[in-house]
Amino acid sequence: MTVMNMVQAINSALASEMEADDSVIILGEDVGRAGGVFRVTDGLFERFGGDRVIDTPLAESLIAGMATGMAMAGLRPVAEMQFMGFSYLALSMIISHTARMRNRSRGSYTVPMVMRMPYGAGVKALEHHSESTESLYVQIPGLKVVVPSTPREAKGLLISSIRDPDPVVFLEPTRSYRLFKEEVEDGSFTIPIGESRMVREGDDVTVVGWGAMMPMVQEAADASEREGTSCEIIDLRTLSPMDSEAVVRSVKKTGRVVVVQEAPMTCGVAGELISRLTSKAFLSLEAPPERVTAPDITVPLPQGEKYYYISPDRIYNAIRRAASF
């Protein structure tokens, strides 16, 4: 066990998979000598060489397409989009080829690749560096979408993503990169994709979140607990395929639910999850499901971010509304 932050944990996952399997290759912008703009690939260029840690030209569609071709040929590429906001340049490639090559060829070709994307606001960044547009990717059949919330989760989920036979969009919450440290196993270990994580059991309200929202969810839940509302916290951690069954089970117990999503409201993952809950746990619901989301506006630049970004207070208020309905 080593105590590490999320950046170190992701680096450790990459290193251990590259060590174990020479088909694992990293490609992206500045991932080589610079070690990535967040230093996630720090030291890997020196350790594994420029053939396996590839600084590509600055071209996102090429990066996605190149990784797709490598995967079709049997490699296990891990491509980095420098920020989620730049991944839109690769979106056509991802939708048109990465996600559907398996289906189109009836399995003759498969695309076992990972696309790592730092995402999220709350870090006082430039425009385009605070995006949380996971719904774009969740809508694409053939892709999996994974969002870790802690260092240990990041390592285990990334190793699973690299070994997964299908393309995975791996969203890394920049806000949590260096927010806290925890103990992480040294060698390889996996955390299954498609299974949510029960963070804390409780009786009164189910609170669901993922990625950068989790520390705030826990803070809000702690405040609610102090006032006597017991919260059951679920970290969804895979947005596609989504483990809605676990949330359904929880809501059948608590009857009340708050879903917390960093992204804008409309057509978000929270709405999808709540829709499934109302179908499958309709008679168990004792209050209207609550969602805490960003408003449907462009992410403001840092000075206006407080009107956009979710705070523990907003989550706390939603828990109170759900509990007191």
Binding site: I25, D51, T56, P57, A59, S61, L62, A64, G65, M66, A67, T68, G69, M70, A71, M72, A73, G74, L75, P77, S92, M93, S96, H97, M101, R102, N103, R104, S105, R106, G107, S108, Y109, T110, P141, G142, K144, P165, D166, G194, P241, M242, S244, E245
Partner: protein
């Protein structure tokens, strides 16, 4: 080297056979024995017959929208003849002659255009990728295929096709740029058939040639008479040899013409002159090769007639086989989205199955 002798910046185009099948310059003739030439002709005839059959089937409602290949057979066949088994053929959607040479089963080809993904279940062992409809996007994964083969120390060149319209796309630029940077073993073939649906070549680029774009990427470029099989083969062979020996990628502009419509849904008479198409009919790559092979004594009337008859029979057999495929089951339509079907997809599939059986 051909790429030195024919400089696209000076408007020089490689041509070996003239319109009547006569050799322009004996020193340029590639070494292809008579047997190989006859096989090439056989292949072109099969491509022509199968292509016309596909158009007919579309008119009869037995096949979906279809992009005819007529007139462009040499542009894909020449490069395919320069390929080894381990080489990758990354297709766009108008390379039938080359695909047949590389080993694509004709029944799968028909099946694909009949609207069944099963038509694409052939590729991995033949190293042919499925057709790619968003133009030039296939160039990006071609770069990845090529990188992977070099990483694995395979002797494999990646041949990637697009059209003149594709050269305007960002992926064309990003991919040629990257192939140059990584000095990958690749041959990019642009079938410049003069028309991207209704938009002429002059609307895609102000460059005098497409081949000269290679200069900006620091790679070799060559404009070739795309209706001249010998020239297309010679150009592709030299490019493939260079790629194999570590000399990096080449851009080949196959100067050709789409004699048919863009697809069966298109009507080319709306935007181009009949006289233009007529002029190009006279430069038909198939007729040109045939004249050459008659002059060489490789073909005669009896042999030629037998080749056409054989092509018709092969085509009929392939169509029958394609039409004997059952439409996919609901399981088949669902199960290739992921390696393992997620619970929600399973649920959705069961739901559709229930409803199809009249359930609720």
């Amino acid at each position: 080297m051909l790429t030195d002798d024919f400089d696209p910046m000076r408007g020089q185009m490689l041509s070996i056979l003239d319109q009547d099948g006569n050799i322009v310059d004996e020193s340029l003739v590639p070494s292809l024995d008579d047997d190989m030439l006859e096989r090439a002709f056989r292949n072109m005839v099969l491509s022509r017959v199968a292509d016309e059959k596909a158009v007919t089937l579309q008119r009869q409602g037995r096949l979906g929208a279809y992009p005819p290949n007529r007139g462009q057979e040499a542009a894909s066949l020449g490069p395919a003849m320069a390929m080894e088994r381990s080489d990758w053929l990354v297709r766009a959607f108008r390379e039938l002659a080359g695909l047949l040479w590389k080993g694509l089963p004709l029944d799968r080809y028909f099946l694909g255009w009949m609207g069944n993904e099963e038509g694409n279940r052939f590729g991995a062992e033949n190293r042919i990728t499925p057709s790619s409809i968003p133009v030039a996007s296939q160039y990006a994964y071609a770069v990845g295929l090529s990188y992977a083969s070099r990483y694995r120390r395979e002797d494999a060149v990646t041949f990637a096709f697009t059209g003149d319209g594709g050269t305007s796309e960002g992926d064309f630029h990003e991919s040629l740029n990257a192939a140059g940077v990584f000095s990958l073993p690749m041959v990019f073939i642009v079938q410049n058939n003069q028309w991207a649906i209704s938009v002429p070549r002059s609307r895609q680029t102000a460059s005098a040639t497409i081949a000269q774009k290679a200069v900006a990427y620091g790679i070799k470029g060559l404009q070739v008479d795309g209706n001249d099989l010998l020239a297309m083969y010679a150009a592709a062979k030299e490019a493939a040899d260079r790629a194999r020996s570590g000399g990096g990628p080449t851009l080949i502009e196959a100067y050709t013409y789409r004699l048919g419509n863009h697809t069966t849904s298109d009507d080319a008479r709306r935007y181009r002159l009949a006289s233009e198409s007529k002029e190009w009919e006279a430069r038909d790559p198939l007729a040109r090769l045939m004249k050459h092979l008659y002059a060489k004594g490789v073909l005669d009337d009896r042999k030629t007639e037998a080749i056409w008859e054989e092509a018709r029979q092969t085509t009929e057999d392939a169509v029958s086989k394609a039409e004997s495929f059952s439409p996919p089951s609901v399981e088949e339509v669902f199960r290739h989205t992921y390696e393992e079907m997620p619970p929600l997809l399973e649920e959705q599939m069961q739901h559709i199955r229930r409803e199809m059986r009249g359930g609720t």
